[in-house]
């Protein structure tokens, strides 16, 4: 399909009309491919239940796309966009969710958010994030049912973020960092993590007077109850590939994550009684869906601003919104709600920051 720019005939394609020397279809399939490592790791951890959630969400997305395009005698499954939406929805959900949660989330994303507004390139909101938010708002309980990962601690499986939230509300202000607070509340990480962290602390960090909390390793690699695609290193690896192939641009995800990290570090400790500059940004960056949201939803070229200024403003807004919703809201980890709200700002940002032909340049260039 990359012949669209060289062949004499015109091949009208769906938006986004970006000049990156690559067709929309190719970009989408590359994005799908880049998620495979995170998906594989998630399926290895959560087994059959994880496969069911991802399978149902992909199947529901494909069916919804088919149902809305076949009556018009069009076939759009080959562009991979519905598959990508279903895959992201599956990765954002926990493996213990009942099947109607992924089914409804994907179907809502495709039917309402994407196809109702004209299909690929015309959606003004990220379909996967909107669908997940719809499911989270509709079924707050079932949409967060988690199961322990392979080799994880047995017992009730609460994602660390939720456990931290209930620990804070049960014990009140404790002034500790997130992992220390979890430790104090008796949250169990895997035995592998415990032995690895103990070894590192004893052999590497003791001489310099430092120590990691238990759970640092589990949280880092995503070996915790919660979303299937929670392995930040593998997600970053996939995103790095996309950045290298210039499928996504670095500004939005990086500014988003950076502003969220800065806010978490600066003010995140206030809620837990730790005061300023005691927020534990690492824990918050690595838990929840923020990494996946930043690289695969915030950077969606359809719903992100066209101008550089717009992307900076949106990135900072997304970080602030996620921070506010995670620390003071009640809808999950805040990333989905922040992305959906941020998508609504995009047309305004485009309008405010784009240079109008014939108008004097705004500001001092």
């Amino acid at each position: 399909m990359s012949g669209a720019q060289t062949s004499p005939a015109l091949h009208p394609q769906s938006a986004p009309h970006l000049r990156v020397g690559m067709s929309t279809r190719r970009m989408t399939w590359l994005a799908v491919a880049s998620l495979v490592p995170a998906l594989g790791f998630g399926l290895a951890l959560f087994g059959i239940p994880g496969l069911v959630v991802v399978g149902v969400s992909i199947g529901s997305a494909l069916l919804a796309e088919l149902a809305t395009t076949l009556p018009f005698r069009r076939f759009t499954l080959a562009d991979g966009s519905a598959l990508l939406t279903g895959l992201i929805v599956g990765l954002l959900l926990p493996a213990g969710a009942p099947v109607y949660v992924p089914a409804a989330a994907s179907a809502f994303g495709i039917l309402v958010i994407k196809q109702s507004f004209g299909g690929l390139g015309r959606n003004w909101m990220n379909p996967a994030m909107g669908g997940v938010l719809f499911a989270t708002v509709s079924w707050p309980g079932p949409a967060s049912w988690s199961i322990p990962p392979l080799g994880g601690a047995a017992g009730p499986a609460a994602p660390p973020l939720e456990a931290l939230r209930s620990a804070v509300s049960a014990a009140g202000p404790h002034g500790a960092t997130p992992l220390a607070a979890l430790d104090k509340a008796g949250y169990a990480f895997s035995s592998l993590d415990a032995s690895a962290i103990d070894w590192i602390n004893a052999h590497l960090l003791a001489p310099v007077g430092l120590a990691f909390n238990h759970g640092a390793l589990d949280v880092l690699v995503g070996h915790v109850p919660g979303a299937i695609g929670a392995s930040a290193p593998l997600l970053v690896l996939g995103a790095a590939y996309l950045l290298r192939r210039r499928v996504i641009r670095w500004q939005l995800p990086v500014i988003y994550l950076a502003s969220f990290a800065v806010l978490s570090l600066a003010a995140g400790g206030l809620a837990s009684g730790g005061g300023w500059l005691a927020g534990g940004p690492g824990f918050h960056l690595l838990s929840g869906n923020i990494v996946l949201a930043a690289f695969y939803a915030a950077s969606d070229p359809v719903t992100s601003p066209l101008t550089r200024t717009g992307r900076w403003v949106l990135g900072i807004s997304l970080g602030a919104l996620t921070f506010l919703m995670r620390y003071f809201g009640s809808w999950g980890d805040g990333a989905a709600a922040a992305i959906v709200l941020g998508n609504c700002l995009t047309p305004l940002l485009d309008q405010w920051t784009s240079h109008r032909p014939g108008a004097a340049p705004k500001g001092a260039a």
């Binding site: 409804a104 309402v112 109702s116 719809f134 708002v137 509709s138 079924w139 707050p140 309980g141 079932p142």
Partner: protein, 205 residues
């Protein structure tokens, strides 16, 4: 259509379509006030009564006065008939006064009172049907119940056991109302467009 009026008209459409019974009461109020205020404005033709459309200055004030008086009457009547319905509808009953203007349509000045009343009945029934339909969808899916009047042994609420434990709560929120409203408008527009293309429609769209 005045945008401010339209937004005010949306207010009860969002707030009062959470249960079927609320939408039935608000629809009844809309129908009653719309018919009576149309009739009153027809009869009081000597004063400017907004016959050229609800948004024409002094006519708007006059029309608002008429519908406010009638709305106050409906509120008092509702309080007498069903105090609990009056309590649950609360602040949205007075808004009927503005709603009637929002959905009102200017009639040709030669229209007889009877013709105007027929038009008002049609608009009232149409709006009521739309509100009840939205409420039916929202309450069934968003709460897993259908709340109606208690009659005899029937407690007034139909519980849909498959949905009541984990309903689609998003539809019960305000956004759910806008979503249903949007799809309803879209379907009606599609039907209207199809009818226009077929050339069979002799009536006003």
């Amino acid at each position: 259509m005045n945008a401010a009026l339209l937004v005010l008209g949306l207010c009860p459409a969002i707030a009062m379509t959470d249960t079927v019974i609320h939408s039935v009461w608000i629809s009844a109020g809309l129908l009653l006030v719309s018919v009576l205020s149309t009739l009153a404005r027809r009869i009081l033709r000597a004063v400017p009564t907004g016959d050229r459309g609800p948004a024409d200055g002094p006519g708007l004030i006059a029309a608002l006065c008429v519908s406010s008086v009638l709305t106050a009457g409906f509120e008092a009547g509702l309080l007498a008939v069903s105090p609990e319905a009056s309590t649950s509808i609360g602040i949205y009953a007075p808004l009927i006064a503005v709603n009637v203007l929002a959905v009102g349509e200017p009639l040709p000045s030669g229209a007889t009172p009877a013709r105007s009343v027929v038009g008002a009945v049609g608009r009232g029934l149409g709006l009521g049907a739309a509100l009840i339909l939205i409420a039916l969808v929202r309450e069934t899916l968003g709460a897993g119940t259908i709340t109606l009047f208690p009659v005899g042994a029937f407690k007034g609420t139909i519980v849909i056991s498959a949905l009541v434990d984990e309903p689609v709560r998003a539809l019960g929120l305000a956004g759910g109302a806008l979503l249903c409203l949007g799809y309803l408008a879209g379907v009606l527009q599609a039907i209207g467009g199809a009818r226009q293309r077929a050339g069979a429609g002799g009536e006003k769209p």
